[in-house]
């Protein structure tokens, strides 16, 4: 056992696997990750939200939140979120990964998969409840700031946006720092930016952003 890390939500711990301290949550394994009893490794190299926690960003997560997750892909990260959070809505647009996401959701009571386009919240506002505590965004599409702004309507007043911004999705040729400046400027129109950190140690050309609705 290790000491409780105050920056981690309850349900997420640093535990030792193969002599390395790694993030872990309790739940059924999903992608062949190392396990220890019912704890399983949350690999920061495969998960941008995992990297944000690993890098000590103040996400405001405490555990048991209601979460809207945009860009759930095959469910690798969202499976860990569902392990420590409450009701978790997982939106993903590509059909192939949704097949895997459904498999992940079948093993969890609080994970609701939605094959929807995150750029069109009106197509899932009849399912996702209002005033969620956390909006997690990891979409590899142009206009990431616009996606966040459109989905701000789901967040409660003091809720948190936890976004991983991918520079190459906006512009493959531009310098990532310039892209991040532009995206953060645009985000600042709908959100108050609380913290930004480059995730390069785990994910090349990604910026982690913590923000709350204005």
């Amino acid at each position: 056992m290790s000491d409780r890390d105050q920056s981690l939500p309850s349900g997420v711990e640093r535990r030792t696997f193969d002599e390395r301290e790694r993030l872990a949550t309790q739940g059924l394994p999903v992608y062949g990750e190392p396990t220890d009893g019912d704890w399983r490794v949350w690999d920061a190299g495969r998960s941008k939200l995992g990297a944000m926690l690993e890098l000590g960003m103040d996400t405001g997560l405490v555990g048991d939140e209601t979460v809207l997750y945009l860009g759930a892909a095959s469910g690798t990260t969202v499976s860990h979120v569902a392990d420590f959070a409450g009701p978790t809505y997982a939106v993903e647009f590509a059909p192939r990964p949704v097949r895997d996401l459904v498999g992940v959701a079948e093993d969890r009571d609080n994970l609701f998969p939605l094959l929807k386009d995150a750029r069109k919240p009106e197509t899932y506002a009849h399912v996702v409840e209002a005033d969620v505590d956390v909006l997690v965004q990891d979409v590899a599409t142009r206009g990431q700031a616009r996606v966040a702004a459109r989905n701000a309507q789901f967040l409660r007043d003091d809720g948190r946006l936890l976004a991983a911004i991918k520079a190459r999705s906006e512009d493959v040729t531009a310098d990532p720092s310039d892209v991040f400046d532009d995206v953060v400027d645009e985000l600042a129109e709908a959100f108050e930016i609380l913290e930004t950190t480059r995730l390069d140690r785990f994910h090349d050309d990604h910026l982690g952003v913590v923000a709350r609705p204005k």
Partner: protein
């Protein structure tokens, strides 16, 4: 109407019959709202669920079913993209080769070192024209090279997408042959409905009709001849190999269309069967002709 929750109008009988689920799934997939609301509280208020806990259970069942069916439908539609891509690839490749022949003829009148084929077109396209007479030839070579590049890009697209659309078929036949079989059949759904004898001769329609008209022997294989399992088997046993291969391809197409998962046994069975057929060559011919 755009403020309706997904559960609006969905009956909440104890029975929870299949109709209710279908209705809920349709609402999840096609419904809309201008803004979110406190759906769990509204569901309890309206009597759709007794408690929020029960609401989340119903939500879970409905979203799981909706995501599963919506993903399967969209994935199936992707087979049509592959069908178009493989046809476009074949056209681009054939046209590039035809134009390369035209180019070789023309270039032969201007360059001593003129070669032939798409490779030569690529080489010539990279050259600077030295005289006004060379200019149109080099430009033409550029078009041929571009078209050949397009065919290569299409092949790459097929190789990337086919394993997602039809994992078993793509593993067994290779992505391009898998796409070609879907193209000849008219889609993955159509391929999955064909008997294996038809799959065996897909692409050999001319030979088949000649046979039916009494002018030729029955064809042993169609486009599946391009696969090593058939082509790499000696000619006496090729009919057996083609039949075994077509049989498993049919199964692979059905698993991919109706199910989802990758079935390793299917591929192991086929490899074993082909090895058995090929072993006849070492044993002499006494049991080699039974399939033809």
């Amino acid at each position: 109407m755009t403020t309706d929750a997904w559960f609006a109008g969905v009956t909440s009988d104890e029975s929870d019959g299949p109709d209710d689920t279908d209705e809920a799934v349709a609402h999840i997939r096609e419904g809309r709202a201008d803004a979110p609301a406190d759906w769990p509280a509204q569901a309890v208020e309206s009597g759709f669920a007794a408690t929020e806990e029960e609401y989340y259970q119903k939500l879970r069942a409905a979203t799981l079913a909706a995501a599963r069916t919506a993903a399967a439908e969209r994935e199936r539609a992707d087979d049509k993209q592959l069908v178009h891509a493989v046809r476009a690839m074949d056209d681009a490749e054939r046209t590039a080769n035809e134009l390369a022949e035209r180019l070789a003829e023309w270039a032969g009148t201007l360059f001593d070192d003129a070669g032939s084929g798409v490779g030569y077109a690529r080489e010539l396209a990279g050259r600077e024209a030295e005289t006004p007479a060379e200019q149109p030839v080099v430009s033409f070579a550029g078009r041929v090279a571009d078209l050949a590049d397009e065919a290569d890009d299409l092949r790459e697209f097929i190789e990337r997408r086919a394993p997602d659309v039809a994992p078993n078929l793509a593993e067994m036949a290779g992505p391009v042959l898998a796409a070609r079989l879907m193209s000849l059949a008219g889609g993955l759904d159509a391929l999955a409905k064909k008997p294996s004898g038809t799959v065996q001769v897909l692409g050999a329609e001319d030979a088949l009709f000649a046979h039916l008209a009494g002018r030729a022997t029955s064809p042993k294989h169609g486009v599946i001849f391009t696969h090593e399992y058939v082509r790499g088997t000696r000619s006496e046993d090729r009919g057996s190999a083609a039949r075994a291969f077509a049989g498993k391809l049919t199964l692979a197409a059905r698993v991919d269309h109706y199910g989802d998962e990758f079935k390793q046994e299917l591929h192991d069975d086929l490899r074993e069967r082909i090895e058995t057929i090929r072993a006849r060559a070492d044993e002499g011919d006494e049991d080699g002709g039974d399939d033809e």
